[in-house]
């Protein structure tokens, strides 16, 4: 500090003595902060991820492929995919309508509905499954009606799709609301004035404008649906070969100490979700630039 002050006599002394220690301290703080953050993320996120990946590939690919080619496992992954696709399609339609109504329309209770959208985010998946069980289960409120119509919801595909729909509700809507708000209504109004029908306006004016939010919403919904576990466990029951999804298989395999099977399935599921989210992020970046 003293030497640098001596070398720069042109600078006024009080300023120098106040400025120099701060800037040197800042460099020190900078390295300390970066080190802390990097090691925190390293310990919390990178280390477990790396351990799982290396642990599974320790014995090579053969045991992984063998455990994944079990018909029950293949069925579990197929079921997960099927539930996720159904969820995405339903949310893509109704979630978009919901977001549009919440942004474009004013009516009493709108703010409450808007806040309610985030509920699935905080409600425990187990509770979600249990709520559906109370509705559709053997002693459920709607059971007499459903059995009269011969529809099975609990411990069957419809219940699992409903549970996944509940859990993934916020993603589509929350992605679309800000984009719709930013887009405004002028172009929609212009299209309507020029005689476009509501559907035409949506198809040719609104949808192209919100497509990146839409794509991102779809990906997040898909990724979340792939990983759903608690709600599906309660409403689906995890019956092997019938209502057992990929996550439920992992849970059962851990319980039965089939670690290779569990870890392999966990890796496949994790990598699949990662690819989804990373690719949509890349898409979005490209979309943002153009």
């Amino acid at each position: 500090m003293t030497t640098s002050a001596l070398r720069n006599p042109s600078l006024s002394k009080p300023l120098k003595s106040a400025g120099a220690p701060v800037s040197r301290k800042r460099v020190w703080v900078r390295y300390a902060l970066i080190t802390m953050v990097v090691s925190y993320i390293g310990i919390l996120i990178i280390a477990p991820l790396a351990r799982l990946l290396f642990g599974a590939f320790e014995q090579g690919l053969a045991p992984i492929l063998e455990s994944l080619s079990d018909p029950n496992v293949l069925y579990a992954f197929w079921l997960t995919l099927w539930i996720s696709v159904l969820t995405v399609v339903i949310h893509a339609i109704f979630g978009t309508i919901l977001a549009w109504v919440l942004v474009r329309q004013r009516f009493p209770g709108r703010k409450l509905l808007n806040a309610l959208i985030d509920m699935p985010f905080a409600v425990s998946p187990v509770v979600v499954g249990y709520m559906l069980l109370l509705l559709f289960g053997r002693n459920g409120f709607l059971y007499p009606l459903l059995s009269a119509l011969n529809i099975q919801v609990a411990f069957a595909l419809p219940g699992m799709v409903l549970a996944t729909l509940f859990v993934t509700l916020p993603f589509m809507v929350r992605e679309l609301i800000p984009v719709l708000e930013a887009f405004g209504i002028q172009q929609e109004q212009a299209a309507a004035t020029l005689g476009a029908s509501g559907l035409q306006t949506f198809r040719f004016v609104t949808l192209p404008a919100i497509r990146w939010g839409f794509i991102y919403g779809v990906t997040l919904t898909f990724a979340r649906a792939l990983g759903e576990f608690g709600a599906i466990l309660v409403i689906g029951g995890g019956i092997k070969g019938r209502t057992e999804t990929a996550t439920l298989f992992i849970y059962r395999a851990l319980d039965e100490r089939q670690y290779v099977g569990a870890y392999s399935a966990a890796i496949v599921l994790g990598i699949f979700s990662l690819i989804l989210v990373v690719s949509s992020e890349l898409l979005r970046r490209r979309g943002g630039e153009s």
């Binding site: 993320i41 280390a47 187990v126 509770v127 029908s197 309660v234 966990a266 890796i267 979700s273």
Partner: protein, 286 residues
């Protein structure tokens, strides 16, 4: 002029009558969708839990196992929220203010927990810290700390899952801060700590609170990672969500509904507060 107004009126009525019909039906679809998917299931649980009256509900909640599970859920979530707030704030600061090799990668990694199914998160933590694994065994023998099948594992799992919330809440606000104020404070002789506390922190309080509450709310309901990491040891590592699962499986309907009501009520209150905070934040931004 009269022609102009006439044509405008005609266009207006033509343009508004059709969309009005469309708007009403869309609104009906939206509200029905939300009611069927969200509101009816939520109401059903209240109806079921309050069937035997509020006294029975209270009795179910205060049963030792249930009470312990709720307390465990709340305190692990609270510990996570404190750590997550500090580290999330720090991470956001580092990401916004500093450039260093690996910066973009670090920024991308922040979102990683959102992409990974929480059950897989649980598996990852067990593989690393489990009692049969090298690191887990070492921690147990040398330091006497068990992480897996114990409360620390719950906190760790929650930290992993909720890591993006605080960072992503604080980051955009931090980006918009005017740095000349910090420079002015430094010129006036304020130390780093004072600048941090008096200049940088105040505008970040609102987003920080939003992110922290959101992670707390998310943590209360977490199940997938916790059931793998903490196991299901009543009175020790059994959280509220795992307790509900046990109650459902043993057909203890009263217990399951009572604890579910408590959890849903906590979740709903927190969501309302977060919603209110976010609206205040939006107002301040404007």
């Amino acid at each position: 002029m009269s022609v102009a107004t006439l044509s405008k009126a005609a266009a207006g009525s033509q343009g508004s009558r059709r969309p009005l019909w469309g708007a009403w039906s869309l609104r009906a679809i939206a509200i029905t969708y939300l009611t069927v998917l969200l509101i009816i299931p939520l109401l059903v649980i209240f109806r079921d839990g309050l069937r035997e009256g509020i006294g029975e509900l209270w009795h179910q909640v205060t049963l030792p196992m249930a009470w312990h599970a709720l307390k465990l859920t709340l305190w692990t979530a609270a510990v996570m929220t404190i750590i997550n707030s500090v580290m999330g704030l720090m991470t956001a600061f580092v990401l916004v203010r500093y450039t260093f090799p690996g910066h973009a990668l670090l920024n991308a990694i922040v979102d990683l927990p959102l992409a990974i199914p929480t059950l897989v998160t649980g598996v990852m933590l067990v593989v690393l810290y489990g009692p049969q694994e090298a690191l887990g065994a070492w921690l147990k023998e040398e330091l006497g700390i068990s992480i897996i099948f114990a409360p620390p594992g719950i906190v760790l799992a929650l930290l992993f899952i909720t890591f993006p919330f605080v960072v992503r809440a604080v980051q955009p606000v931090l980006l918009t801060l005017d740095r000349t104020q910090e420079a002015a404070a430094a010129t006036l002789g304020a130390g780093l700590f004072t600048i941090g506390r008096r200049v940088i922190l105040p505008p970040l309080i609102l987003p920080l609170a939003t992110g922290a509450l959101l992670s707390f709310a998310r943590a209360i309901g977490e199940f997938g990672a916790i059931v793998i990491v903490a196991g299901n040891l009543p009175m020790y590592s059994q959280t509220a969500a795992v307790y509900v699962l046990g109650a459902v499986e043993s057909e203890n309907r009263l217990g399951a509904s009572a604890i579910s009501i408590v959890m849903v009520t906590i979740a709903f209150s927190l969501i309302l507060v977060v919603d209110w905070l976010q609206r205040r934040e939006d107002k301040e931004a404007v």
